[in-house]
């Protein structure tokens, strides 16, 4: 366990730790381009140079492992000048693209130039021209002039996605990144290359020219497209999700997320349930809740069945079960959900619902034994009420048929579909980006889903609906079921 000193501060680390990692732990920021904590070391950018007592020349701190008695200086005049020079060198041929480059505002080249160089140009000559705006794949655009050849993108494809689709071609100032002839950059993690790209060389087509990065604010939340629950950040501007980017979570997804999950927000841009409906006619939320509350006790005499969705948060589940049971103690509950799909060896899991695990725990806690979905469909003609949460169910057609046969049929969903068409009562519910609560992923990690977008009109969380219903039924829930914890 070597102990070393960086800028006068001592730290003891595990053998094999690089100097830059030790500095990061101390809170000393050594600038870098090609180093990324989730990728193998390359050492080509030369920004992370530091002075040490073990070498007459500056060493690359991303590569050099910590040794016992190492004395490292990150801010000597020679190092400051080295950084400035590296930046000047990179900027020699860098195009004056900031106004049209999507990376502006989150560009490591911009930030490091401003912090470590901020001098005028000494370069009166022509800049070298290369290909710009080249589509490399369905999600990625490449601009060779902006590229600083750090090779992070190549390492992401090789090491994270296990699909070595990018290569560096040519040499020296002519070097650039490309795909093999006749192929595309199309593996399921292609957008991660744009995440790691420190400049605007690789950008996503989904976000291209959509919104400027500094206008958005990021909300730390969780992806719901499968039970992996990758940490994502929803970048929001004027109450709309502009893009989703992966968030660092060492326990779940490290620094990565799949393309499918990142594009999922588009699904909720159209086809939303806009307002409360009773028998096809639009009405207001208060009236809807009132009528359900009036009809439910009577329907409970015949039997109430509830189809829960493994998309709902733990708070939703608790509130719904408690509220329904207060008027229908014998209600039966089933768990629906999206059908399983393909998995891969990186992050994607077969269960396409985010909270099956959490839902199971809540039901166990409340001593609810869920029945099979088919049973509820079969029971349908005998039921007094059938309440379905969520629209994305594998057996949607069967459920729609069941809803049509039940006198009091209620669907709470975000998206229109066969279920909302079949039910008598339709309540608009929140999308995953409007929801706030707790999900537990397949590994058992408890995570917080945060509201990124304020829902419009009468859109409500399931928990809020359940709480309002319980109030109307005269059995208010003990305390508002609100999540209070946070994600790292």
């Amino acid at each position: 366990m070597p102990t070393l000193t960086i800028d006068g501060r001592e730290i003891t680390v595990e053998p094999g730790t690089r100097i830059i990692e030790a500095a990061d732990r101390l809170g000393i920021d050594i600038p870098r381009f090609c180093y990324h904590p989730g990728l193998p070391v390359a050492g080509n950018c030369r920004m992370c140079l530091v002075d040490t007592n073990r070498s007459p020349k500056p060493v690359a701190s991303c590569w050099d492992p910590c040794q016992e008695g190492h004395v490292v200086t990150t801010n000597s005049p020679r190092i400051l000048e080295a950084r400035r020079s590296v930046l000047e060198y990179i900027l020699l041929n860098h195009p004056v693209d900031c106004p049209i480059c999507d990376q502006a505002g989150e560009c490591e080249l911009q930030d490091l130039y401003f912090a470590h160089d901020h001098q005028a140009s000494r370069h009166p000559f022509h800049k070298h021209h290369k290909d710009k705006a080249r589509v490399l794949g369905p999600q990625i655009v490449y601009d060779a002039e902006r590229c600083i050849n750090c090779t992070r993108c190549i390492r992401v494809c090789e090491e994270v996605a296990k699909a070595p689709q990018l290569v560096q071609v040519q040499r020296g100032e002519r070097a650039y990144i490309d795909v093999f002839p006749g192929t595309q950059l199309d593996h399921p993690y292609s957008m991660c290359t744009a995440d790691v790209c420190p400049v605007g060389a690789l950008t996503t087509r989904d976000f291209r020219f959509k919104c400027r990065a500094w206008l958005t604010h990021g909300i730390q939340t969780v992806c719901g497209e499968c039970s992996r629950g990758c940490g994502i950040r929803a970048d929001v501007y004027r109450n709309e999700v502009q893009r989703l980017v992966p968030r660092h979570n060492p326990d779940v997804n490290q620094y990565w997320a799949c393309d499918h999950g990142r594009l999922a927000y588009h699904r909720f841009e159209t086809g939303r349930v806009a307002a409360v409906r009773i028998g096809g006619a639009t009405t207001d939320y208060a009236k809807g809740v009132r009528e359900v509350a009036e009809a439910l006790p009577g329907a409970a005499l015949r039997g109430v069945a509830v189809v829960l969705t493994p998309w709902m948060t733990d708070e939703d589940a608790w509130a719904v079960v408690t509220a329904i049971r207060s008027v229908a103690p014998g209600a039966t509950f089933a768990v629906g959900g999206a059908a399983p799909g393909a998995a891969d060896e990186v992050l994607v899991l077969a269960d396409k619902n985010p909270n099956r695990n959490g839902l199971a725990r809540v039901l166990a806690d409340l001593a609810v034994t869920p029945v099979a979905l088919d049973e509820i469909v079969a029971q349908a003609p005998a039921l007094g009420a059938l309440i379905v949460f969520g629209a994305e169910h594998a057996k949607a057609e069967a459920l729609a048929g069941a809803l049509a046969r039940v006198p009091l049929s209620i669907v709470l969903a975000a998206l229109e579909g066969p279920l909302t068409a079949a039910a008598r009562f339709v309540f608009p519910s929140t999308s995953p980006y409007e929801t706030d609560g707790t999900w537990v992923n397949e590994q058992g990690v408890v995570q917080r889903v945060r509201r990124a977008v304020q829902p419009a009109g009468d859109v409500r969380d399931f928990a809020v609906w359940a709480s309002d219903l319980a109030d109307r039924l005269g059995q208010p829930l003990p305390a508002p079921a609100r999540a209070s914890g946070g994600n790292p």
Binding site: C98, P99, I100, A104, H126, K127, F209, K210, R212, L215
Partner: protein
């Protein structure tokens, strides 16, 4: 050199107290103004608008105008510097893609003149000489809020060719 000086209060002597001598002196001043204006109009500051309009100095900040390139296209590349710098958040831009080397252009460029305070920070922030406040046109009132939203066409109509050389290729 800074000195402290006590102000001199008017004396409470007979001249002041009897107010007639001061009244006479005052009337000489107003009388001078009166007769000069009556006979020569030299002291009249009222201008006969709109036949005679006030000349605005060259730096006066008036309505915005969007500038063009040599090929007539709008110079703006929708970089959002102006809308970020605007303290009133009155510029709305929606960017679109172009098929030439300029890559980006504003599909929508709208200035809300209800909110705009004509501070000129957008002009200062533009890295392309695309927006200027030097049209010399005074902001005109409108009857509806919608008319106060000036879009790309309105702003281009006041615009003209900008010859700011850009892009890093120095001759």
């Amino acid at each position: 050199m800074v000195k402290v000086k006590v102000v001199e209060r008017p004396p409470a002597d007979l001249v002041v107290q009897s107010w007639l001598p001061e009244l006479w002196k005052g009337m000489k001043v107003t009388g001078r103004h009166f007769f000069v204006n009556l006979l020569t109009q030299k002291g009249i500051v009222t201008s006969q608008y709109p036949e005679v309009k006030r000349v605005y100095p060259p730096r006066t900040r008036g309505k915005h105008r969007l500038m063009r390139r040599e090929d007539g296209s709008v110079r703006c590349v929708a970089c959002f510097m102006c809308s970020t710098a605007c303290p009133a958040d009155c510029i709305r831009i929606v960017a679109g893609q172009r098929d030439d080397e300029n890559e980006k252009f504003p599909v929508v460029f709208e200035v809300d003149f209800i909110k705009c305070v004509f501070c000129g920070m957008c002009e200062e922030a533009c890295p392309c000489d695309a927006i200027r406040l030097d049209s010399g046109v005074h902001r005109a009132p409108a009857y509806t809020r919608k008319d106060e939203l000036n879009g790309k066409e309105d702003l281009l109509s006041l615009g003209s060719l900008s010859v700011a050389r850009q892009g890093g290729d120095l001759k």
